[in-house]
Amino acid sequence: MRVFPACCPCRRFEMPDAVEFLSQGINGVVLGLLFSTIAIGFTLMLGVIGIINFAHGILFALGAYFALTIRNTLGFWAALIVSPLIVGLIGIIIERLAIRRMYGKDALFCLLLTFGIAMSMEELIRMIWGKLGHSISAPAFVSGSIDLGFMLYSKYRLLLAGLSALILFLVWLFLEKTTYGAIVKAGAQDAEMVGVLGNNISRLRTFVFGFGSALAGIAGVIAAPLWSVRPGMGNDAIMPAFVIVVLGGIGSFWGTVIGGLAVGLSISLAVMFLPRMSDLVMYILAALVLLFWPRGIMGEKSILEE
């Protein structure tokens, strides 16, 4: 649809039509929900136990890789359940062996430790599964596109949106409606208090780390058909996770959801109008938000500010 006359220099910039706008808008929401799912585990770890987990990206990648292997033998749904469990287990092991020693020390050391872990594990993935990427197709029942009459849209993306929303809902349910979830939430506010109230802090921390890892893993499983499985795929997850947490506020559930949707929609908008800027927009967005809301949109003062 050409809005400008032929002589106008803006001619090269074509306004997207309604169908494209709508499709890209839906894309933005789908992507946003996926990003929120990726970030929720990260923000929990950060908010509740004060751990900046640089290995979050690699746990995401592991989720995808285990799904790759499991899917060949047991199918998509099995992969969706089993892979995050394995990743959660790996998270628990990492916590017990390494992270445990970092509590109470400067947050910087933990960040560096997880950076080292991420580095080694990425190479480990290369050693086990090979250096090349694997394209993974959507499960057969959602392959191809669905005809909505006025536009076609990918079936898998709709499933992806649904699964992300479901996962986020389940996390919310856990945090709001279960007693252990309440403890976890309380831990985000004041870890000492939780200890005083008689709950085992050490077990809480291990649980949160494992839970956060499992969330990273499941995000990897559902993202894999969209982004393909490569050893470096963790980078596609860790950076948005940082940005979303900064945008939404550390430790805030709704902040993460809002932040994720904001990032997803801004990327889609950028792809429509300025594709070259699409990877930059989320950082610009983060910087702008932080300048006016220093703690993120829904953040509160956290121990990490010292």
């Binding site: 890209q24 894309n27 490569r230 594709p275």
Partner: protein, 426 residues
């Protein structure tokens, strides 16, 4: 953190540390010294084994092996065994240079072979000139490599964008459609291919209805595919390569774009088609391919394929591809030139390469190594997807349509930016 920082390393500690360091260095270096006295001819191969073009590396490795085998099985080159040292450039230019430096300074290789796409290759072209070492470049197709980056030490084996466009575009305009949309991979290779296609498109009276620049590492093509659909072209020219291409083909299938538009890919590597599988690859109406064994009526192909299968029964690709072919030809001709020159000295080998024509090109016509831009001038082919019932095996995916002669289609001197420098002593 709150720790105070001091700068005290007492002299004694420093000397102790240095002594320890030197001892460690010496001890760890002794084995290297012991192994130093061996005279095989060494080729440094900086090839992509991971990254955007990572899957090409495996094919390229086979190509090198096939060429080396031809010489080593007959007693070597100038009486010496030829060996190759491989390094992964991961499709990254900075890494390619670092690896090349190490191969040159530490391993003292005599020649280079490089791949990994246009970026690492442009960097390698400069490296070769700076260090005065010959580099045979075997997988990119960007015109700048025989244009502004051309120099005496750098040789380009693959067909270039100008020739690809010159061969494909007229055929498409005449036989497939006159309203074109471009997908341009947003870096030098993509831009130059689209530019060249445009030139020949206009000459044949076809018109452009739109273009989308696809940034590198794009994962999500839905918006681009939607744009094409609203522009309603007859032909979609896909000037995209590597892992991005694979994702794009997946999503074209996902959105069913090929049902409303005829899709042409001016340059496809067999490895890309293999990654998506022949069914998904069948979205294309026409594919430009540098080399495939399905070229009819050319002698030597069958022997080449048989040898590949014999030497590499477990290779990732069951048949040799364009990239094995280009690498084989490049290394083989380099070694032949060394033989003709009778020495490893770069200026003499360069002169032996320049202007050489060889008949056993495994293509319809002979190939010539042009001395003013160092391009291996050769034929370029185009195919359509073979119907499943006609396929003899999973590799038999191409049906021959036609080809363009290198001598007629390659860029001419008046249009080229190549400027060759003088070698020392000329």
């Amino acid at each position: 953190m709150g720790r105070k920082i001091d700068g005290d390393i007492s002299r004694r500690t420093f000397l102790k540390g240095t002594a320890a360091g030197i001892t460690f260095l010496t001890v760890s270096g002794v084995p290297a010294l012991l192994r130093a006295q061996q005279p095989p001819i060494r080729i440094g191969a900086v090839i992509p084994l991971s990254g955007n073009y990572g899957f090409l590396g495996a094919s390229e490795r086979c190509g090198i092996g096939l060429a080396l085998d031809e010489f080593n099985s007959k007693g070597g080159l100038l009486g010496r065994k030829v060996e190759v040292l491989e390094e992964d450039c991961a499709t990254d230019a900075a890494l390619a240079i670092r690896k090349a430096q190490r191969l040159l300074q530490s391993e003292k290789v005599d020649f280079f072979v490089n791949g990994g796409g246009s970026s690492p290759s442009a960097a390698m072209a400069d490296f070769a000139k700076k260090e005065g070492v010959i580099d045979m470049c075997i997988d990119p197709n960007s015109d700048i490599l025989t244009g502004e980056k051309a120099n005496r030490y750098f040789f380009m084996i693959p067909v270039l964008n100008y020739q690809i466009a010159h061969t494909i575009a007229p055929y498409v305009a005449d036989n497939i459609g006159k309203k074109w949309y471009y997908f341009t991979h947003d870096y030098s290779w993509g831009w130059t291919l689209t530019e060249s296609c445009r030139k020949f498109m206009k000459e044949k009276g076809a018109q452009e209805v739109g273009e989308s620049k696809i940034p590198l590492n794009t994962r999500d093509y839905s918006s681009f595919i939607l744009k094409v659909r609203s522009a309603k072209p007859e032909v979609l020219m896909v000037n995209v390569a590597g892992v991005d291409f694979t994702s794009l083909v997946e999503q074209i299938n996902e959105f069913g774009l090929h049902k409303s538009v005829k899709i042409v890919v001016p340059l496809e590597d067999f490895e890309d088609a293999w990654a998506v599988g022949p069914e998904k690859n069948a979205v294309f109406t026409l594919m430009g391919v540098e080399w495939h064994y399905a070229i009819p009526g050319v002698s030597g192909i069958k022997e080449f394929v048989d040898k590949y299968k014999r030497l590499y029964p477990r290779a990732p690709y069951p048949c040799p591809t364009t990239n094995s072919y280009n690498t084989y030809i490049g290394v083989r001709e380099l070694l032949r030139a060394v033989e003709r020159a009778g020495t490893l000295e770069a200026p003499k080998v360069i002169k032996a390469l320049e202007g050489n024509t060889f008949k056993d090109s495994l293509k319809n016509d002979s190939t010539t190594i042009r001395e003013w831009d160092h391009q291996f001038v050769q034929d370029f082919y185009y195919f359509r997807p073979k119907k499943k019932k006609d396929m003899k095996d999973w590799t038999d995916i191409y049906e021959f349509v036609g080809y363009g002669k290198g001598s007629e289609m390659a860029i001419t001197r008046d249009l080229s930016q190549a400027k060759m420098e003088k070698l020392p002593g000329e």
